[in-house]
């Protein structure tokens, strides 16, 4: 008698831990609801929970997801970056456009470096001039798109080397390579954020800049690292997207800033800085893509997704406002 009772108790304890974890990451509860909903709906249950479809969702999450990982750092840092869409397009255009002259990998590296450089520039201007990062990157969003259009003359570039698109369509042990890259980056960036000094200082700067300054944190360094990292991740995402398409388009990344910020905010990161997590962001990205996928299977017009995402984004603010009073004391400890 005692053994099963203990098991039940342990199960109850496990359930409680699980529920507590969900309370900390409410977006994962949304994810479970979505899984149950689309998994049980008669119209979608055949396809939705199939391995192929779940891997498809993961692959679709990769491009927004990689950028969202970097955006999480920048937003925890108390800043924002609106210029990631054009950075994606510039990196992809360079990577495809230069590959005839330079070779595949050097061209991709040029694209990556361009992204890191532009991110560094955003961070440098934000930190050195004291102009709000919203304004700095708003300008960059227009300006870098201008660079893309001037460089490409508004043309799409097609990769003549099949190795490029072969990479985009390849898989490792049944999982698409691009999705593996996303998951690996998520794990690494989760560890960096939670286990390293840079991660802790990023929270400190975003939470209370003056206190961090007084505690001897070198604010500029963290701002520069985070913006450069985001620029590099945006470039990587653009390059990976171009390997999947076998081409780059000058309009790549349009409205990506909207999707990325939505995913990060859905994942519990606050615009005011100091709060957030990679686990939440990954949940936010998956929740958005699962919704798009499921609604697509339901044959709902794709336009509804935009409406629902917008409503979800605003709804999060309501929930956030209600819980922020109790949340503050808990997170700080």
């Amino acid at each position: 008698m005692s053994a099963p009772a203990a098991t039940t108790e342990r199960n109850a304890g496990g359930a409680r831990t699980f529920l507590r974890a969900l309370a900390r990451q409410p977006i994962w509860a949304v994810l479970i609801v979505e899984l149950l909903f689309f998994g049980l709906m008669p119209q979608t249950r055949e396809v939705f929970l199939s391995t192929g479809n779940l891997l498809n969702i993961l692959l679709q999450s990769t491009f927004i997801g990689i950028v969202a990982l970097g955006m999480t750092y920048v937003m925890i840092n108390g800043e924002i970056d609106l210029s990631i869409g054009p950075i994606m397009a510039l990196a992809a255009s360079l990577s495809v456009g230069l590959q005839m002259d330079l070779g595949l990998i050097p061209a991709a590296l040029v694209g990556l470096l361009a992204g890191i450089g532009l991110g560094f520039f955003n961070g440098l201007v934000t930190f050195k001039t004291g102009v709000d990062s919203f304004i700095v990157t708003l300008g960059a969003m227009l300006g870098i798109r201008g660079l893309v259009f001037v460089y490409t003359q508004q043309d799409s570039f097609f990769s003549m080397n099949f190795a490029y698109s072969d990479f985009g369509l390849s898989s490792v042990g049944g999982v698409p390579t691009l999705a593996v890259i996303f998951l690996a980056l998520a794990v690494i960036l989760h560890l960096v954020l939670t286990q390293t000094r840079h991660g802790r200082d990023t929270y400190a700067v975003g939470g209370n800049r003056d206190a961090a300054l007084n505690a001897g944190v070198r604010i500029g360094r963290h701002v520069l690292i985070n913006f450069s990292m985001l620029g590099g991740l945006a470039a990587l995402s653009g390059i990976l997207l171009s390997t999947q398409m076998g081409a780059s388009t000058p309009n790549m990344g349009t409205v990506y800033e909207l999707w990325v910020i939505t995913a990060v905010v859905l994942g519990g990161t606050k615009l005011t800085g100091g709060h957030g997590s990679i686990v939440g962001t990954v949940g936010g990205v998956l929740a958005i893509q699962m919704l798009r996928n499921g609604m697509n299977l339901l044959q709902v017009q794709a336009y509804w997704v935009q409406v629902i995402i917008g409503v979800m984004l605003i709804a999060v603010l309501f929930v956030d406002k209600r819980t922020s009073v109790s949340g503050q004391g808990r997170v700080r400890t």
Binding site: L82, V125, F127, K128, T129, G130, V131, D132, F134, I135, V136, L138, G139, A140, M141, L142, G143, I144, R145, G146, L147, F149, V150, Q153, I219, G220, T254, V255, L258, I261, T262, V265, L271, Q301, Y303, W304, V305, Q306, V307, I308, I309, G310, V311, M312, L313, I314, V316, L317, F318, K321
Partner: protein, 332 residues
Amino acid sequence: MQHASSSPTWRERAAGILRDQGILVAFVLLMVVMSLSIDRFATSENILAVIRQVSILGTIALGVTFVVIGGNLDLSVGSMLSLTTVMVVDLHDKIGPGPAIAVTLVVALLAGAVNGTLVGIFRLNSLIVTLGMLSVLQGATLLYSGGKNVDIVNQDETWFAVFGRGRLISAGGIDINVPVVLFLGLAVILGIVLHRTSFGRKVFAVGGNRVAAAYSGLRSSRIVFMTYLISAFSVFAGAVILGSRVMGSQNTVGQTWELQVLAGIILGGTSLLGGSGSIFKTVIGVLIFGFINNGLLLLGFPFYAQWIVTWIVIILVVWLDVAAKRGKLWAA
């Protein structure tokens, strides 16, 4: 008049003028330099053409200026422009121009009221709320049109053409176009509302310090709500001009307009932090935006070079502004 000894030196005066009217000085300098270096720049046709080109952007920027001075942002104006332009064009042939305009006005004000309720009354973060509305309204536009572009069939027979294509005065090679008159007329009206009424003063007070404004008895929620209605109204006006000029509309016609509108407002020197700025500054800012574009095109640069220049100019303008306020060039 003060005694000569205590009056400010010319140096201090110059510094004061630069601080208060720096953008205006920059604008005049820009115009002089462009007139001297570009042949076809300083002609009345060219200058009127530029004002006509920026009239829709400017019209929307006037309304958004209220929101910004009130301490908030409105990123939904681009999508709202898409929705209202598609609606006014689509309804034109279905229910006639007058009712189409009326319905569009109601839709715009409803969208503005949603923004105003969420930001003003529920006090939610305006960046996220209007980013969400950007998505919602773009989705609504596509749902409304079913993804198809819309147009007006009998383009020559409708009085609706007057808003975008009409000319008020046409003499001696000078055309004063209706869009220009609507833009500048709305600028005068909204300028009076913002700078000569108690409502306008309250907008500045709420944007400057919402808590202090609340303690002094201002009902800030209602004022913020009103700023979003004004913003929505200006989008409606822009949509009527745009729909009338093009006589058709794409579903995504307003995409990135929210950023160009903000760029114009920032170039004029209105702070995004709220509490300061003016309608006049916005008009100047939008004109700078237009004349930089025009000058670069006349010099033979590709169209999108203007965006690169705007990028640099925005950073410089706001940098000089914050540097003047803190008395130091560098922040750190």
